[in-house]
């Protein structure tokens, strides 16, 4: 018995040593970079990393594809995180408020890095309490994708107003003999892109001048009313049955990509996917505006993918060196062209790499609109988006009227600490 115990202990020690040896401590010049992209997009990132490593002798950037925002957060908070993390501009305020991010101003000053060349709309989104907390690599806004063939077959023109959008959606929807939906007319999928964008497109705002949350603003309510009208027409259950078997950007299961969706709200990467993987005959147009308010035209949400340096990063200098390099024009162009993104530097827009980029002209024209807005820069955004999403769901499933739902949301949002 004793011998067996000894043997077990020995093997145990061996395996543990083996295990810890496998994740040996890093060299001094290593920079850990965790990004959210996977698959082909990750390859673009890795190519850039390789170029950076070859271009200088001080730092080695090691990239990891970790498409899970939560996991990255937990690691950072556990002190086991990367030196550079990728995320979205909406979260900068809350992470900064938690003390999770290292400010970049000192680095920027040392290397003469400024935001002069950057699209003005996005600069505020990466600042918190006057300090720069992250760098935006791209600009994301959303346009309406229209399946031209489906509209032609239904005899309707491309919609400009939200009333037309509803009308077009109803007319292009086709229902099968068993009551199930075969072609979805409305931008009901993916659901998450609808409300934020259409709120801004219909002239709404999620906070007021005093900084209070206002989910019950007229834009949101109007957007929800429009959405609910479509669902009322065809029933919530058939629509949910349709969308529940849809898979985002899967060429075989994404309804717009298979020609089963007439209208769609999505971003620049979608243009790339549509062109490379399908033959859908489409156009990308600005989001519609309410007929009574043409001054709201070309409204929508703008945000960006950002990179930040966690406050407990082990190699802050190396992290900054890479970020600085990455956000220079040539690298930014390589990154954004590959991903189908719009670069955040205005001078990069005229780069020949984008001459043939799909819908690039449409997007950059759109980006000049004064009605494009970012989400509010507040530390409690996650709580607010959750409340908004929850109550919007009540309105979208026709359990509450949009007004009642948003009033309830406002009441709850007022209690967020």
């Amino acid at each position: 018995m004793k011998k067996i115990v000894m043997l077990i202990v020995l093997i145990l020690i061996f395996t543990v040593v083996f295990a810890t040896a496998c994740d040996s401590s890093k060299e001094r010049t290593e920079v850990e970079f965790w990004y959210l992209w996977g698959g082909e997009e990750a390859e673009i990132v890795e190519n850039l990393i390789e170029r950076f490593n070859e271009s200088q002798n001080e730092y080695t950037v090691v990239g990891s594809s970790i498409p899970d925002v939560q996991r990255i957060l937990v690691s950072i908070s556990a002190g086991d995180g990367p030196d550079i993390a990728g995320n979205f501009s909406e979260n900068v305020a809350s992470y900064s408020d938690m003390g999770m991010i290292a400010p970049l101003d000192a680095h920027m000053e040392k290397d003469g890095f400024t935001f002069d060349d950057f699209a003005p709309g996005i600069i505020n989104a990466v600042k918190y309490n006057g300090q720069t907390m992250a760098l935006p690599i791209n600009l994301t806004t959303f346009m309406m994708y229209v399946n031209v063939d489906l509209l032609e077959a239904a005899g309707v023109a491309v919609p400009k107003t939200t009333e037309e959008m509803l009308d077009v959606a109803i007319k292009t929807t086709s229902v099968g003999a068993d009551g199930s939906i075969e072609v979805l007319g409305y931008p009901d999928f993916p659901n998450v892109y609808f409300l934020d964008n259409m709120t801004f497109a219909m002239g709404g705002n999620f906070t007021d001048a005093a900084g209070n949350y206002t989910p019950d603003n007229p834009g949101t309510i109007a957007a929800l009313t429009n959405f609910a009208a479509y669902r009322q027409e065809f029933g919530v259950d058939p629509i949910l049955a349709f969308t529940s078997s849809a898979r985002y950007m899967d060429p075989q299961a994404d309804p717009f990509m298979t020609g089963h969706q007439a209208l769609r709200i999505d971003g620049p990467w979608y243009s790339v996917a549509l062109n490379e993987q399908t033959d859908i005959n489409y156009v990308a147009i600005p989001l519609p505006y309410p007929a009574a308010n043409p001054e709201f035209e070309k409204g929508g949400k703008v945000n960006s993918s950002i990179f930040f340096i966690p406050s407990n990063a082990r190699n802050e200098d190396g992290a900054w060196a890479f970020l600085n390099w990455l956000h220079q024009v040539p690298q930014m162009v390589e990154f954004c062209a590959g991903m189908g993104n719009i670069p955040s530097r205005i001078s990069a827009w005229s780069d020949p790499a984008f001459a043939n980029a799909v819908d690039f002209a449409e997007y950059t024209a759109y980006l000049g609109s004064p009605n494009l807005r970012p989400m509010p820069v507040t530390p409690t955004m996650t709580d607010f988006t959750k409340i908004l999403a929850d109550f919007a769901e009540y309105a979208m499933t026709l359990q509450m009227s949009p007004e009642d739902a948003m009033k309830a949301a406002a009441a709850e949002a007022a209690n967020i600490r």
Binding site: T15, A19, P67, D68, A78, G79, D80, M249, D250
Partner: protein
């Protein structure tokens, strides 16, 4: 119940139907794992694939670092089994066959410890390991086993030891043997079935554990199979074929373990359920 056969038919049919229903998910998992994507989307689903392919398994191996995850899971599981095998019997012995007053206090505490929901200790444990700089490593997943936690196994072994023939121990004591010698020389060798049961259940519990790896493992090189599988299903492009293949591969070791040690499984469960 020596009734005529006929009245047994209804229960037999019911059991047959239930049995088929219970097997069905497995069958579909397997059959899907060998199907081409086009066939997977076919409605109604066919039981036996028209074209039998190993492509999904290949895909699973390419997308998930399967070998690495299996190694990690195995390391942690092995360490846990070793830890419990070394520690739990000692403690169970002290709670049953050693005559001392402490066991009246400790045994109830062991029972209480078994009933504490994980979430109650989750955050402070995390903070403790965090302050010790151990988060992000395998240590938080291994250390508890060497301290007897989860204490279910202490309980099981203690129940088992209580039925041990005290006469043997008496005889040894009369001969002047120390407790340690009695424990290692007499009691343990005769308790192999119980020890096997503890090993099996520790293996099962650790191999399939999700919450603890989720909390403590952040770098993907260190993931266990459970985290790896969850990460795989969460990402954008869900391919059913590779997903089923991966699930099956993850499940296979425990199924093999079960069939190899069926009797001990059943004995172990009944030991805990019937004898408490």
């Amino acid at each position: 119940m020596k009734k005529i056969r006929i009245s047994n038919i209804i229960p037999q049919i019911a059991l047959l139907l239930l049995g088929l229903l219970f097997i069905a998910p497995f069958v579909f998992m397997l059959s899907t794992s060998f199907k081409l994507p086009s066939e997977i989307f076919e409605m109604p689903p066919r039981l036996i694939p028209r074209v039998f392919t190993l492509e999904n398994y290949a895909q699973a191996f390419m997308t998930i670092p399967f070998f690495r995850y299996t190694l990690n899971t195995f390391l942690i599981t092995f360490a846990n089994v070793a830890g419990q095998l070394i520690i739990a019997p000692m403690i169970a012995y002290s709670l049953s066959l050693i005559d001392w007053s402490g066991k009246k206090i400790i045994f109830p505490l062991v029972l209480v410890g078994m009933m504490i929901p994980q979430q109650v200790t989750m955050i402070p444990l995390y903070m403790t390991f965090f302050r010790l700089g151990l988060t992000g490593s395998f240590w938080p997943l291994i250390i508890p086993a060497f301290l007897g936690i989860p204490s279910l196994y202490i309980f099981l072994l203690r129940q088992f030891f209580m039925g041990f023939p005290k006469s043997l121990i008496h005889a040894a004591k009369v001969d002047g043997a120390s407790e340690i010698r009695i424990f290692y020389g007499i009691v343990l060798p005769l308790c192999k079935p119980a020890l096997v049961a503890v090993s099996i259940f520790t293996f099962l519990y650790t191999w399939t554990d999700f919450l603890n790896p989720l909390l403590y493992l952040s770098r993907s090189e260190m993931y266990t199979l459970s985290i790896g599988l969850q990460a795989f299903v969460r990402e954008r492009y869900v391919e059913w074929g590779p997903l089923m293949a991966a699930s099956f591969l993850f499940t296979l070791p425990v199924i093999i373990l079960f069939f190899a040690a069926q009797r001990q499984f059943v004995e172990g469960i009944t030991l805990s359920g019937v004898k408490s």
